[in-house]
Structure formats: C-alpha cells, structure tokens
C-alpha cells in the first residue's frame, strides 16, 4: 500500500461515521414482520383478559403441577387433552376491571365444581436433580449454559406428586357468570350440564437457582392430561371462555375455530407483560413472555417466562433474565 493510499484511507469523513450501517438481514426482517403480524392478529381479536381466563388456566396448570395423584376411572372418558401448543391471548386492563367489578365469587363458583380426588402432598426437597428425577420417574433436564454470574451447581430441587381433580360442568353456574357480565348472545352447548372431566397430573420437578437476590426457576413435568366425554364441543366451550374474557362475538368464534383445543393450552398474557412471541425450543413449540421488570436497588431487572412442550413434557423457565438469555438457556437443556 502506498503512503498516499494510507493517508487517503486514514482520513475520517462523514462517510466513515456511517460505515457501521448495514441492511437488516432479510430472514430476520421477515421473521420479525411475521411475528408482529401474528401479535397484531391476536390483538385485533381482543379485548382479552379476565379472571376467568386466569382461573381456567390456573385450574389446568395448578392441577397439572400441584395436585397429588389418584387412579381415575379413565375408562369413563373417551377423549383427552394434552399440552402440545400454546395459544397466547393478551389481556386488557379494562377487561380485568370489568370482571373484578362484576362481584362474581369465582373461586367459590369454581370450587363447587372442582372435586379434588386426592389432595396434593407438600413439595419434597431433594439433594440433587438426579435424586429428584428418580423420585419423579423421569429424567430431569438441566441447562448446560447460564448467564455470567449464575452458578449451575447446587440448585434447590423439589418434587410435587402426581394428582387428579374432577370438574363437573354446571350450565346454571356458567349462565350466572355470563349474565353477570352482560353476555347474552352465547349459546351453552346442550347436554353439557353434569358432564365431568378429570385432570390427571404427573409429578413435577422444580429446580431453582439463586444469584444476587434473583431467582431462576425451571419446572418440568409430563403434560397434564384431561379426560372428557367424547363429542364434547371444545370449540364452543372455548368460544364461551373467550367471550367471558371480553372478546367480541365474531372474534371469539374465529379464535376458537383457529386451534385444536385437544392439544392447545390457552395462556392469558397479563397486562404487565411488555411483549410475547411464539418460539421454538429444541424443536418444541413455545411461548416467550417478557414481563415488566422489577427494580432491584437502582437497577431495573428484566423478568421473563418461557413455556414450551417437547416430547410429551411441559417446561416452564422463568426468572430475572432478559428473554434472549432465557431462551438461550432453554436451548441448552440436556
């Protein structure tokens, strides 16, 4: 290189200052656009939100992860639900307010319809994940990577037992909820009253790591299974639930028709979630939710939750990490 060329290249000009600019990768732009369009579509189908969505999901998840087992008479049921996919539904603050102002005693209304067939034993602590896995009856997956500062060794480990609860449908109770919310344009499927569904849950292993006052938690369990009478119109029930959550009639119908409710878990996105998106975790379907961070001293800590299913198991990883780190950690599970 000549000295003249060297000088020419050494001079900083306006162009030099723009030299870091580049075109966003096409694949990235395409993926982001698609993701936003999906959120847009979901958003257009709102307003979502409400205690019932939370309650319904909590019944499923709590039953899935917190109730001890019982040998249910599975022969009485001919159809079943297992979690394979997740359908995210953003919740609106005003919908939540409407539900909370409705004077509905939802816990009481639901409790009367939910029979705990065997009460859950308290979670039991184990010295190692391997010991917990031996008790739970499955291999406990662990990350091989964690962000700087986190110690993968010596986490706290607990196991919850398997369980089952029976839910009995009551059209009178359902109508009471609908009436309280001024929803007068939905039809409750005939023959629903008195029908029962049983939610079977498997043991769940919870692994927790601590670092500087922050916590990371990984929960894993075989998917819960819900047995229900053959011929149950799940789309119609989903549509009712979506109406209760505030969706307009047409949107609730379209949304309810969009999913296979035998394999899809409805996940209400709380108002404090700043973003969410569908992700793939080790080939399984997942949902990544970024929550509004919490202040730790003067620093705002991020918080996120990742749900995914893989190989018949359901995983939940949550804690004080940003979503990218959480996802990266999940991808390393072995």
């Amino acid at each position: 290189m000549s000295g003249q060329e060297e000088n020419s290249m050494s001079a900083m000009d306006e162009r030099s200052l723009y030299s870091l600019r580049r075109t966003p990768p096409e694949a990235f732009a395409r993926q982001l656009r698609t993701s936003l369009q999906q959120q847009s579509a979901h958003s257009a189908r709102r307003p979502m939100g409400g205690v019932v969505a939370v309650a319904v999901t909590c019944v499923v998840i709590a039953a899935a992860f917190g109730v001890p087992s019982v040998r249910a008479a599975a022969t009485a049921f001919l159809d079943m639900f297992r979690v394979v996919n997740f359908a995210a539904v953003p919740m609106q603050s005003d919908a939540l307010r409407k539900l909370s102002n409705s004077n509905l005693d939802l816990p009481h209304l639901l409790a009367d319809q939910v029979q705990v067939l065997e009460k859950a034993a308290p979670p039991t602590s184990f010295a190692t994940p391997a010991a917990a896995g031996a008790s739970a009856g499955f291999h406990v997956y662990l990350p091989t990577w964690m962000p700087v500062g986190w110690d993968m060794q010596a986490p706290a480990v607990q196991v919850s037992g398997a369980g089952a609860v029976r839910v009995t449908a009551s059209t009178a109770r359902l109508q009471q909820i609908l009436t309280s919310l001024d929803i007068n344009d939905v039809s409750i499927p005939q023959g629903l009253d008195g029908q029962t569904a049983t939610i079977h849950t498997s043991p769940a292993v919870v692994v927790r790591w601590q670092h500087g006052g922050q916590t990371l938690q990984l929960l894993q369990s075989p998917s819960p299974q819900v047995d229900f009478p053959a011929g149950t119109n799940l789309s119609a029930l989903a549509e009712i639930g979506l109406r209760v959550l505030g969706l307009p009639r047409e949107d609730a119908y379209n949304f309810a028709q969009s999913f296979d409710w035998r394999t899809t878990l409805l996940v209400p996105i709380p108002p404090n979630a700043s973003s969410f998106r569908q992700v793939s975790v080790q080939g399984g379907s997942g949902l990544l939710i970024e929550l509004t961070g919490r202040a730790v001293g003067e620093v705002m800590r991020p918080s996120a939750l990742l749900l995914w299913s893989n190989g018949g198991k359901v995983f939940q990883l949550s804690g004080s990490l940003n979503p990218a780190e959480l996802l990266e950690m999940a991808q390393t599970l072995q």
């Binding site: 030299s19 993701s35 959120q39 800590r301």
Partner: protein, 165 residues
C-alpha cells in the same frame, strides 16, 4: 404512518420504513448480531403493544420509536456485565470494487475500536445520529438534552474521533 390507532396497512409501511433505523441504531450500541436483532424485535414489540399511548402531538412516530429503543438499550446494558468492543467485520455488506470494500472495512474497524472509548452519552448520540439517522431535534427529544447541546456534544465527539482516527 402508524397513527394512534394503527391499522394493519399503516403498520406494514411503518415497519418497512423504521426497521433499518432501529436496527442500525443498535448496530452502533451493541457488538453482537443476536443482541442487535433481539433488541430490535423487543423495540417493535413494545411499540406495537403501547401503540395506543402514542401521541402525535408530542413527537413524530419515528422519534417515539427511537425513544423506546433508547430505553430498551439502557435496560439491556444495565444488565450486561461488560461491553465488549464491536466486532463482526465480516457481515458488512460490500458495494463497489475491492478498493472500496477495503476502505469501508478500514473505516468500520477504526470506528468500532473507537466508539467503546467514548463516554456512554456520546456513544448514544452517535448511534442516534449516524445509526438511526436522526436529526438533532429528534435526538434532543429522545435524550432530553437541548437541541443546541446535542449539536455541541456531537461536534466535539466527531472532532475527538477525527483526532483519534
């Protein structure tokens, strides 16, 4: 443009127009391509979910979006333990002949080496000015500095870079 009640049609136009600005803003703040894409995604997702709070009377949409990106990167860097110098030269798209490519690569190398030596505020102003292509008024709106102050700081920063080049 994306109005306070954005329609699907508006959103597509906004996305096409604003994606390069936001993406390049992060190119000047971060060294890792995965982080750049993650924070770009996060910015658009936050903007979409907060779109009903956008007020045209307070700021242009691009400025509002930049303010979100500004907050996103602050949160991200607070979490990051260290700020590695920018690398990844190879991903730079090349235009023109080999000499032109070489010249640009040289500029990139120098700029990437120098930016981390600047104070955080100066880095931020550079990212807004040369990454996002914002004018001084927009930068003032995003950062809370006065427009004249932005001009002064940028002038000094560019001069400093020129001296260290």
């Amino acid at each position: 443009m994306w109005r306070s009640s954005a329609s699907e049609h508006d959103w597509n136009a906004v996305f096409t127009e604003q994606l390069p600005r936001i993406y390049n803003y992060f190119c000047y703040r971060l060294h890792n391509e995965a982080d750049i894409q993650e924070l770009t995604s996060r910015t658009f997702e936050k903007a979409w979910r907060a779109r009903h709070r956008y007020r045209r009377d307070l700021a242009g949409f691009g400025t509002w979006l930049l303010r979100i990106a500004h907050n996103v990167v602050i949160d991200h860097l607070r979490l990051a333990r260290d700020y590695a110098p920018i690398e990844e030269l190879a991903e730079l798209p090349a235009e023109g002949g080999p000499e032109h490519e070489h010249e640009i690569a040289s500029d990139v190398t120098r700029l990437r080496a120098l930016i981390p030596t600047l104070p955080v505020r100066e880095r931020e102003l550079l990212a807004l000015k040369y990454g996002a292509g914002a004018n001084n008024r927009e930068i003032a709106n995003v950062t809370g500095l006065s427009e004249s102050n932005v001009g002064t700081i940028l002038h000094r920063t560019v001069q400093l870079l020129r001296d260290r080049w």
